[in-house]
């Protein structure tokens, strides 16, 4: 039995933050308070795009102690599969959407004596809520935030005003300033934890630099949301549900299953959490694993697939779903 805890919400406010970033504020339709959450958590927003169900994960960026509403920020991605375009073009104050319960796959290590946050672009959002909690609990932190230009960067001025220049450092591509990761990593006291959220290249770079500076991997944390990559359409048979379906070019297996009325479990929709792990019954072709959850051995075995991001090339794929 699965309990539906999703929350119908009303869009209370939409704010244009920069030319490419909009902030959305959601209040519950039933008038109840929102559940509290922890910094780093995300929600999955379900959108009805002309009969097409879209579900995208977004980090919560409002104050975790404020249960009157949730806020997310959405970057308009030019080659988006539609979710961010829909949010930017269609969603207006007063509209209704469905929001999931918060899920945290990027929680700070509460034992940390100091927390260093590295953000790139829209990767700032989980840190905004995290910093609220650090500041409330008098926990040491500093943010290093890289933006393309002062005009394109979201929230940098507000963060500077709120936490001051000793804790907030801004780096601007256009001004040729970059985060001196190696220098920052060098002289941190024991018990420091490092977090990075941003473009994949930035995440890899920061983690690699920290490891080279002698940091143990236990103190390094990152959040990568992988948007489901596009690819050629393919056929899947869901044997438990007895559904034959085609997964479209810009669709994930999970989305196709949902479109056919099959209620598969999920949490992150980004290949990270493991919730949508599905057993493969037979596979006449090649699995394209795009997740960061399964181990290399599990991927090679061909027995499991994370249906939120992974794809298939070949004749027929049969899943135990």
């Amino acid at each position: 039995m699965s309990l539906n805890t999703d929350m119908p919400v009303r869009v209370a406010d939409v704010t244009q933050v920069t030319d490419l970033v909009k902030r959305f504020r959601f209040e519950r339709l039933d008038g109840h308070p929102m559940p509290f959450f922890s910094g780093g958590a995300h929600v999955v927003v379900s959108m009805n795009d002309n009969g097409l169900l879209r579900r995208n994960p977004y980090s919560l960026m409002s104050n975790p102690d404020d249960n009157s509403a949730y806020e997310i920020s959405v970057l308009r991605v030019p080659n988006s599969r539609g979710g961010s375009i829909f949010m930017h073009k269609q969603v207006k104050p007063g509209d209704q959407l469905i929001v999931s319960q918060p899920v945290n796959l990027f929680a700070p290590d509460h034992r940390g004596r100091k927390h260093i946050l590295f953000a790139g672009g829209i990767g700032i959002t989980p840190f905004i809520a995290m910093m609220e909690q650090f500041s409330r609990d008098n926990i040491a932190f500093e943010l290093h935030y890289a933006i393309r230009s002062r005009a394109h960067g979201a929230y940098w001025q507000q963060l500077l005003d709120r936490y001051g220049p000793r804790r907030i450092k801004i780096y601007v591509d256009e001004e040729k300033t970059t985060i001196p990761v190696a220098e920052i990593a060098d002289n941190q006291p024991l018990g420091t934890h490092l977090y990075v959220c941003g473009p994949a290249g930035m995440i890899d770079g920061v983690l690699m630099t920290a490891l080279k500076a002698g940091w143990p991997k236990e103190n390094l944390h990152s959040e990568r949301f992988l948007a489901p990559p596009a690819g050629l359409p393919f056929q899947v048979f869901l044997e438990k549900s007895n559904i034959h379906m085609t997964v479209g070019e810009h669709q994930s297996i999970l989305e196709a299953a949902e479109a056919h009325g099959c209620d598969a479990p999920y949490l992150c929709r980004g290949g990270a959490c493991g919730q949508c792990e599905t057993a493969v019954s037979s596979c006449d072709g090649t699995l394209e694993h795009n997740d960061i959850y399964l181990s290399d051995e599990e991927k090679a075995s061909g027995k499991k697939i994370m249906i939120c991001v992974s794809r298939f090339k070949g004749q027929q794929l049969v899943l135990q779903l």
Binding site: M1, S2, L3, T5, P35, F36, F37, S38, G40, A41, P64, D65, Q101, P102, V103, N104, A107, D109, H110, R111, Q133, R136, D137, E218, L267, C273, G274, Q275
Partner: protein, 346 residues
């Protein structure tokens, strides 16, 4: 419904008894005639009226006496309640969860009034009326977890989540089935389950851990666990084993029905909102064999289960000495008739 709280003891003269109403609502843990470890988890949702599943945080007729027993244990050994320093947010989460549930489901006994961060908590059975500031430990007489778990039945562990594992980093444990919070605090999921036999090999803990790491807010889960205890003693801690251990030699065919108690843990697990930790509630229910056999289905099933146990489980649950006496005594309640599926009385 107003509960009439019993005046009774869980030590010395052992005056603990279940009322007829309470016997019928006992969470009998065996849904079939044999037992083996499994990942027997199900959504923790409201169940039948007049069962322990009626409310998600159950308060029953033993509430006041159990809280008195806890206070005695803590006076003897304050290490039964501990929290590592990074668990303060999770302590407040716990306080909020328990207060909200108790106040919502038992309004005759508990009242919670919130005015922003200023909260007033009234606990009528224990005669408590405190006003405090949520988030400020200096406004309560105890740290938040200790404060509220001195007022809630069951043991409580708060488990931190990091590095794809769960860590037992805080707890109030005074009614445990032979494990020590003081020893286990700081351990991860596999470590604190280390002494449990068989289950590791069949992968129970790997699956349970995977499941719990993705436990969602608003979707608590539960399972039943069980053991047996001589006398209705709540504090069967390893710390005091040398004090209660000799009880095991006092069981005879004449007194087994009175002395042996089935001890069931209703374990519920809750994702906590502000800390992302998991609250693990281990609510203990006791019933003597005399009380238990008043439900014919349970009288038939229990001897069958006891006979089917693998030796490792018999040993781990401390049943080696008294199992034969129980099986002999229970035999007269098993007429060989088939039993219905599920745990509830027919």
């Amino acid at each position: 419904m107003t509960i009439t709280f019993r005046n009774e003891t869980f030590r010395d003269d052992f005056t603990f008894r279940n009322s007829l109403y309470n016997i019928r609502r006992f969470p009998f843990p065996f849904d079939r005639d044999e037992y083996m470890y499994s990942v027997n988890m199900e959504p923790h949702v409201r169940g039948k009226k007049d069962s322990v599943f009626e409310n998600l945080i159950d308060v029953d007729e033993h509430y006041v006496a159990e809280m008195q027993d806890r206070a005695i244990v803590l006076k003897e050994d304050p290490l039964r309640c501990q929290a590592l320093p990074h668990m303060m947010t999770a302590q407040w989460d716990t306080l909020e969860l328990l207060m909200e549930h108790q106040a919502r489901d038992y309004p005759e006994h508990f009242t919670l009034t919130k005015n922003g961060d200023r909260w007033r908590w009234i606990n009528r059975p224990l005669g408590i009326d405190d006003t405090f500031t949520f988030g400020d430990p200096s406004t309560l007489p105890y740290p938040p977890m200790e404060y509220i778990t001195r007022q809630a039945q069951g043991d409580f562990c708060i488990v931190d989540q990091r590095d794809n594992n769960l860590w037992m980093d805080a707890g109030m444990v005074t009614t445990q089935a032979d494990w020590s919070l003081d020893f286990d605090i700081g351990m991860n999921f596999m470590e604190w389950h280390g002494p449990v036999p068989l289950a590791h090999q069949i992968g129970v803990f790997d699956r349970a851990l995977k499941f719990l790491l993705n436990l969602q807010q608003g979707k608590p889960t539960r399972r039943l666990n069980w053991t047996m205890t001589v006398n209705p003693r709540l504090d069967t801690s390893p710390e005091n084993y040398h004090k209660w251990g000799p009880d095991r030699t006092t069981v005879t065919p004449e007194n087994v029905g009175d002395k042996m108690h089935l001890r069931v843990e209703l374990q519920s697990l809750w994702r906590l909102p502000r800390s992302n930790a998991i609250l693990f509630v281990i609510r203990c229910y006791l019933i003597s064999l005399n009380e238990l056999v008043t439900v014919p289905k349970w009288g038939r099933r229990l001897p069958r289960v006891l006979k089917s146990l693998p030796p490792e489980i018999v040993d781990y649950k401390g049943l080696t000495r008294n199992r034969p006496i129980m099986i002999d005594w229970l035999a007269k309640y098993d007429d060989g008739a088939p039993t219905s599926a599920g745990i509830h009385p027919d």
